[in-house]
């Protein structure tokens, strides 16, 4: 039911874990629905220098999390904002229709982490003023 690429990312997920002093953290989903993801990003010169994830969910949820981190790593935050559920699914060689909901979450978690990073940046600026 899953592509080889999905199975590869499920079996050998890239960038799992937490980043202790992350610049941005984004959590989306709900354990009630069966999917919960947290993305941690470390940003340097507006580039995502490091990214890690934690996921509770099905095979697709884990694989899309892994693929999202791989796509985002090294990209500028503006480029990373362009990573979408569709591009993640496409990079994985497609997802079963019922699983497209899960793949939404990984890109959303990345966007949430970037948003968190930007908000923290704004707050830091305000403090300086």
């Amino acid at each position: 039911m899953y592509s080889d690429k999905v199975m590869d990312h499920f079996t050998h997920p890239r960038n799992t874990g937490e980043i202790p002093n992350a610049d941005g953290v984004g959590t989306v989903g709900n354990p009630t629905c069966g999917d919960l993801m947290t993305m941690y990003i470390k940003v340097k010169n507006k580039r995502i220098e490091d990214i890690k994830f934690k996921t509770f969910g099905c095979g697709a949820a884990i694989a899309t999390s892994s693929m999202t981190t791989e796509l985002a790593k090294g990209k500028t935050i503006d480029e990373a904002m362009k990573i979408s559920r569709a591009s993640v699914a496409e990079s994985l060689g497609g997802l079963p229709k019922v699983k497209m909901h899960c793949s939404n979450l990984a890109a959303d978690a990345l966007h949430a982490a970037i948003k968190d990073y930007k908000e923290k940046l704004e707050k830091a600026k305000e403090v300086k003023k």
Partner: protein
């Protein structure tokens, strides 16, 4: 999906079973040699008719029915449940329009009751306790003089809990209602006596007896009258029109005969493997629990859950090591809803998501259980390490 070529351990028997080779042997003449229609007058027809009646006898013996004629052949458990519920409800509409069932029924019971609700009937889904056992005092409160039909599962195929059918029957009959029992998962695993148990209608599945899919039966107590779902040539005493699926019915009869003879020894064998596997999965792993009742339990059923992770991920990991099982998780289902059975037992959604359902069968051995016991802890650790829900002390 890349799977280990050598190792293939199938432990999803409540979903589908292989057909016993003796059953296939019994069926084969009815495809090319004895292909007559039992309604035909001639030799070919009479041959088929005789095969049909022999199967009826074998199935009636398995459940100790009073007469072979109480067995109505259908296309499977789903049709039997539909026929029992709709046929009894409609037939007794003038006497009462309430249906009483439980919160742990198969979807063919749930949705048959819901379809009757759209026809003006009321349905009450009586609650169960944390083991999945029907709460008898609430059940008694829920039954009243408008309740003409009660439908209760003999044993739930997902969590294995066996209901106290005898006690339920007493309550139902004291209320002058009819009792339909869905014995799909139970029949062939535990001894069932429809007369002693006080059952008025009972659903039986053929595949669950290691016979072919696409055939089942409804036991209908001798004096009972219900309305048919299918109208036509009046086969099966007018209750199920359509030319009988003779080859499958012959297989059904053979499967029932084998089950009657071999059930006890097979169940005793499998219970040992079941209990060993349950202990082996729960004891070494923290936050691992058994679903269902520890003792009032179907011999084949190992239903467990692991907190902080999701069932489909467990299934995928198992499948990669050649083990094929099931889960009550939403992510492994078409509906994207976790099992209503697990939720009815009081589990939270996230707990139900972490369930793993193993149902053992004739070809499984203790070796298979040992292999699964060896695999599971690593799978659980790996997934828990990835999960944001896992408490810190569990991380490795």
């Amino acid at each position: 999906m890349s799977t280990n070529k050598v190792m293939q351990i199938y432990v999803d028997h409540s979903a589908g079973k292989p057909v016993d080779s003796r059953v296939i042997g019994a069926m084969s003449p009815y495809f090319k040699t004895s292909y007559g229609n039992p309604s035909s007058f001639h030799k070919f027809g009479q041959e088929a008719k005789q095969a049909l009646e022999t199967s009826r006898v074998n199935i009636s013996k398995l459940i100790n029915a009073e007469k072979p004629e109480t067995i109505i052949f259908t296309s499977g458990a789903t049709e039997s449940n539909n026929l029992a519920i709709k046929g009894t409800a409609i037939r007794n509409r003038k006497k009462g329009t309430k249906i009483l069932t439980s919160a742990v029924e198969h979807m063919s019971v749930v949705n048959s009751c819901k379809s009757m609700m759209r026809q003006g009937f009321q349905t009450t889904f009586s609650p169960v306790d944390s083991f999945g056992l029907l709460d008898l005092s609430k059940f008694e409160e829920n039954i009243d003089d408008q309740t003409k039909l009660v439908s209760i599962v003999y044993a739930n195929g997902e969590v294995g809990t066996i209901q106290p059918i005898n006690e339920i029957s007493k309550i139902v009959h004291a209320n002058d209602s009819y009792l339909h029992v869905d014995a799909t998962a139970a029949c062939g695993q535990i001894p069932i006596d429809v007369q002693k148990d006080g059952i008025d209608l009972m659903t039986i599945s053929c595949n669950d007896l290691y016979g072919p899919k696409g055939v089942g039966a409804l036991y209908l107590k001798d004096s009972l009258r219900i309305d048919p779902l299918l109208h036509g040539g009046g086969q099966e005493h007018g209750l199920r029109s359509g030319t009988e699926n003779i080859s499958s019915i012959v297989g059904f009869g053979k499967a029932a005969q084998i089950a009657r003879i071999e059930m006890n020894s097979e169940s005793n064998r499998i219970v040992k493997i079941r209990d060993n596997l349950i202990r082996g999965l729960i004891d070494p792993i923290p936050y691992a629990f058994l679903n269902g009742h520890p003792v009032k339990r179907l011999p084949d059923n190992v239903s467990v859950r692991f907190n902080f992770i999701e069932g489909e991920s467990i299934l995928l990991s198992l499948a990669m090591s050649g083990v094929f099982a099931s889960s009550g998780s939403a992510c492994a289902a078409k509906t994207l809803q976790p099992s209503h059975v697990l939720l009815a037992m009081g589990l939270k959604h996230e707990e139900a998501h972490g369930s793993l359902m193993i149902t053992l069968g004739k070809q499984n051995t203790q070796k298979d259980a040992d292999y699964i016991k060896e695999l599971i802890p690593n799978i659980i650790d790996r997934l828990r390490n990835m999960s944001p829900l896992t408490p810190k002390e569990l991380k490795k």
